[in-house]
Symmetry: C2
Subunit: 174 residues, 2 copies
Amino acid sequence: MPNLRIPLRFQLLTARISSVSTKRISAALDDTSKAIIEQLQRDGRRSYAEIGKAVGLSEAAVRQRVQKLTDAGVMQIVAVTDPMRLGFSRQAMLGIRVSGDTRIVADLLAEMSEISYVVLSAGSFDIIAEVVCEDDDGLIELLNEKIRGIEGVSSTESFLYLQLTKQKYDWGTR
Amino acid sequence: MPNLRIPLRFQLLTARISSVSTKRISAALDDTSKAIIEQLQRDGRRSYAEIGKAVGLSEAAVRQRVQKLTDAGVMQIVAVTDPMRLGFSRQAMLGIRVSGDTRIVADLLAEMSEISYVVLSAGSFDIIAEVVCEDDDGLIELLNEKIRGIEGVSSTESFLYLQLTKQKYDWGTR
DNA sequence: ACTGAAAACCAAGATTT
DNA sequence: AAATCTTGGTTTTCAGT
């Protein structure tokens, strides 16, 4: 069973890869599969029959394709919550410089509930992390009490979010 | 009808807000709703009956709550595709400095299909953007031919992804 | 494509706050 | 009174053959 506490892409990249092997599907989805995915991107609970009508397939055929796509880890149907709607209104991207093993620091960051995104990167930052806090106080506290206290963190730089202009997850279908 | 080409949070933040007013739910979800959301984060197509069994509610009650949560924009059930699985293996975060109106540049970036994420930020970068390309050539081309050519982009800095350590979307339920 | 089983839907009615 | 949950009957979908 995959670790389900971190749902979307992270899960796709880790848990699933182990079981399905690293076969790459490339952009080799046919138009019908793309159309099915598009339907489900609009509404993940749309019925197979309805999707079938839209893409010109029988209900059963749609169901089989959806099964295949999810089994292969190409697609996942999940609920996503909106931090803003839940009172987490202060977001920021952090650039972090590390002395020592970046993976150890990244793992510590990943354990923090306020941190939604952690990547190891090449460039003038070793780690990039996204934080989601209720307010400025939460962010200040997180930075000073938790992040800067991590052994090996030599400096951090914050980029407060002013406005989220775009976010998408629909690779391969457009 | 909301613009569905940009599915998740962006949609939640824009299209939905207009119709539902800006009421904030705060962390005021009761435990039952949280439990329902958790179920759907594991599998967005789990049946209402099954969820009901898990959270101690009737099938109809679960359906009503899910309806409310999605109508309120707290949650959305969608298909998410994995860029890696589809052959987009080179990702990077870009820090962009802009002279002039950052929103205009951000909108231009948002139109590019390789760019998955755009935020206006305060700090030493005016815009932060995530790019997802098939390979290094794609990234180089994007940077030089498209991004650096935008009027008002004064400098860019790239942070290539080495490893995605964490990604989550489940605010409010943990 | 067909079929039994399951789930979703709908409309009241009951219960809670 | 308003919101929320349950129940029972009906339609639709699901999953296996």
